[in-house]
C-alpha cells in the first residue's frame, strides 16, 4: 500500500517519466544448421509507473522470450532493459513474475506457499505469517490456509500463485498468460480479481496474452506484436473508465469499437500465421 502512494506521486510529478524501458531488444535462438532463428527484432517500448500494459501477440510469436528478457532471465543479443533508469542485467527483486504454469510447491500448504518468497528473503516468521494470512483473506481463500494445492481448484491455485508473488511487494508485476490453462468462467473471475487488486494497490503491470478481449478489459494500453520475429506493430490506448467489470464490458459499445479497431491490426498476423 505504501507502493501505491509513491507510485501515484511519481506519476503526478513527472507524467511522462518511464519506470520501465525496453530499448531496441533483439533475440535469436540457435538452430540445428547454425543459422540463428530471430525471435525478437528491435522491440522498444516504455511503461509508466502504475500503468497496466498488455502485450498481445499470436502464440509462438516470441512473447514469452521477450518477457524472460525483461525479467533478467535471458540476455538480449542487442538492446537493453532499463528499470528506474538503471540497466537490468539480472533478476531483480523489484519485479514479480506470474507465469502461465502452476508453480506452487505441491508439498506446501496455501499458507506455506504464500510464505515461500518471504522465507527466501528472510523476513521474520511472525511478520511473514501475518502478511500471508492477510493476503489469503483478501483473495477469498480463508479456510484453505492449510490445504495442499491438489485440494484446491484451478482458479484457487492461480490466486495463490498470484498472492505468492504479491507477498514480495514487487513494484512491477509481469504476467505471462497467467490464465491460459483455465476455463472461461474461472478466467473471468480471475480477471475481475486482477482488476480489483490493481484498483486497490496500484502497481505497474505488464500482462502478456494472446487474448485481445482480456488485454482490452484489463489494460490502459495494448501493444500488438507481429509474428516471429516479434516487433511492436501498433499501440492502442484503452480509455475505458475504471473500475471495470469484465462481465459488463463485453457488451459496452466503446469496448466493441476498440476491440474491432485493434483486431484489424492483429488479424493480419493471425491470418499470416495460418498461411505460414
Amino acid at each position: 500500500m505504501n507502493q501505491a502512494v509513491t507510485c501515484a506521486s511519481t506519476a503526478v510529478s513527472a507524467p511522462d517519466s518511464s519506470q520501465f524501458i525496453v530499448d531496441g531488444v533483439s533475440y535469436a535462438y540457435p538452430s540445428e544448421n547454425g543459422m540463428p532463428i530471430p525471435v525478437i527484432a528491435n522491440v522498444s517500448f516504455s511503461v509508466r509507473p502504475c500503468e497496466f500494459v498488455a502485450i498481445v501477440g499470436t502464440s509462438g510469436c516470441g512473447k514469452s522470450t521477450l518477457l524472460n528478457i525483461m525479467a533478467g532471465l535471458l540476455k538480449p543479443l542487442s538492446g537493453s532493459v532499463i528499470l528506474d533508469g538503471r540497466p537490468l542485467n539480472r533478476i531483480s527483486p523489484r519485479i514479480g513474475y506470474i507465469s502461465q504454469f502452476d508453480t506452487l510447491l505441491p508439498w506446501r500448504t496455501t499458507l506455506a506457499n504464500v510464505e515461500l518468497g518471504m522465507e527466501i528473503r528472510r523476513i521474520p516468521a511472525a511478520e511473514r505469517r501475518e502478511k500471508a494470512l492477510a493476503l489469503i483473506r483478501r483473495a477469498e481463500l480463508a479456510g484453505f490456509e492449510h490445504a495442499y494445492p491438489y485440494q484446491l481448484s484451478g482458479g484457487m491455485r492461480k490466486r495463490v500463485d498470484i498472492i505468492k508473488v504479491l507477498a514480495l511487494d514487487p513494484e512491477i508485476i509481469f504476467m505471462d498468460e497467467p490464465f491460459a490453462s483455465l476455463d472461461v468462467f474461472t478466467r473471468e473471475m480471475l480477471q475481475s480479481y486482477i482488476l480489483s487488486l490493481w484498483q486497490e494497490t496500484k502497481r505497474t503491470v505488464i500482462f502478456i496474452t494472446h487474448d485481445l478481449t482480456e488485454a482490452i478489459m484489463l489494460s490502459d494500453r495494448v501493444l500488438i506484436l507481429t509474428n516471429r520475429p516479434a516487433r511492436v506493430k501498433a499501440e492502442h490506448a484503452v480509455g475505458l473508465a475504471r473500475p471495470r467489470s469484465p462481465a459488463d464490458l463485453r457488451f459496452d459499445p466503446e469496448f466493441i469499437h476498440l476491440h474491432r479497431r485493434i483486431w484489424d491490426d492483429l488479424k493480419d498476423e493471425v491470418t499470416r500465421q495460418g498461411a505460414a
Binding site: 532471465l73 507465469s99 502452476d102 508453480t103 522465507e119 494445492p149
Partner: protein, 266 residues
C-alpha cells in the same frame, strides 16, 4: 457415510481373505507333511516350526541372533540411504561432477555385489562391520539412482519461479529440490529394505559367528530344517515390520499427494 462405510467394509473383507489364504497355505503344508507326501525331515512342517520356537527362545539364541541381523540390516539401511542421498545431491547439484562420476557408479552397479561378500569378510572381518558394508552397499545404489533421477526431474517451472524470487543455492536445495525428491528417496528406501536384509544374511553366510544367516547355514549343515524355517519365519516378520514402518512414514511424508486409492478397480 455410505461411501466411507463401503470402503471400510471392503478393507475388512480384504484382511479376512488374506488371513484365510495364509491359513489355507499353512494348512496344506501341514497336511502334506503329515500325510507323507512331503518328507518332513527336509520340508519341515508348521507345527514343528511352532514347537521349535520355545527351544530357540529358551536357549537364548533367538533374540541374540535376531538382534545381530537386525542391527546389521538397520545400520546398512541407514548408512546406505544417507550415502545414497548425499552422493545423488553432490552429483545432481554439481553438473560437471555428475557427468564425470555418474558413469563410474553405473559401472560399479553392474558388478553383482553379492560376489564381493567373501572379500568383504576378508577385508572387514567376521564381525558386524563386513555385513553392514555389504548391506549398505546394496542400499546405496538403490537410493542413489532413485534420488538422482528425482533431482533430474524437478519441475522446471517451479525452479524458474523460485529463482525469480531470488533463492540462494542452499535455499534451492533445501526448499525445492530435497522436498521434491522425497517420493523418489522413499521409493529407493522401499527397495532398500529387502536389499539390506539380503546383504546382512549373505554376509553372514560367508563368514560370521552370529546372526540369523549364520544360524541358517549352521542348522542346515546339521539337517535342522525346523530351525532353518524358524529363522525364515523371523526374517519374514522383520520384512513385514520394515514395510509397515515405511508405509507409515510414507503416509506422513507424502500427505501432500492426492490419495491414489480413491478410484477402486477399473
Amino acid at each position: 457415510m455410505s461411501s466411507f462405510g463401503r470402503r471400510h467394509q471392503e478393507r475388512a473383507a480384504q484382511v479376512v481373505c488374506r488371513a484365510a489364504l495364509f491359513l489355507l497355505l499353512v494348512g496344506v503344508w501341514e497336511f502334506l507333511a503329515r500325510s507323507g507326501v512331503l518328507n518332513a525331515f527336509y520340508s519341515s512342517q508348521p507345527s514343528r516350526i511352532l514347537l521349535d520356537f520355545p527351544d530357540f527362545y529358551i536357549s537364548g539364541n533367538l533374540f541374540k541372533h535376531t538382534a545381530v541381523t537386525l542391527s546389521e540390516a538397520l545400520w546398512g539401511l541407514l548408512c546406505g540411504t544417507l550415502a545414497g542421498i548425499a552422493a545423488a545431491f553432490l552429483l545432481g547439484m554439481f553438473d560437471f561432477l555428475g557427468k564425470v562420476i555418474e558413469p563410474f557408479i553405473t559401472a560399479l552397479y553392474g558388478i553383482p555385489k553379492l560376489a564381493l561378500a567373501p572379500i568383504f569378510v576378508l577385508w572387514f572381518g567376521l564381525g558386524i562391520e563386513s555385513k553392514v558394508i555389504m548391506s549398505g552397499l546394496l542400499v546405496f545404489f538403490l537410493v542413489f539412482f532413485s534420488t538422482y533421477g528425482g533431482i533430474k526431474s524437478v519441475d522446471r517451472n517451479i525452479l524458474t519461479s523460485v529463482r525469480l524470487m531470488g533463492a540462494t543455492r542452499m535455499q534451492f536445495i533445501f526448499k525445492v529440490v530435497l522436498p521434491s525428491c522425497v517420493p523418489w528417496i522413499l521409493a529407493g528406501v522401499r527397495g532398500g529394505l529387502g536389499a539390506s536384509l539380503i546383504g546382512a544374511i549373505v554376509g553372514e553366510y560367508m563368514g560370521a559367528s552370529a546372526g540369523l544367516g549364520w544360524v541358517i547355514s549352521y542348522a542346515t549343515s546339521f539337517f535342522q530344517v525346523d530351525r532353518v524355517m524358524s529363522c525364515i519365519v523371523i526374517l519374514f516378520l522383520i520384512g513385514i515390520m520394515f514395510n509397515t514402518v515405511l508405509k507409515r512414514l510414507e503416509r506422513r511424508l507424502l500427505r501432500w499427494r492426492p490419495p491414489l486409492d480413491c478410484g477402486g478397480s477399473w
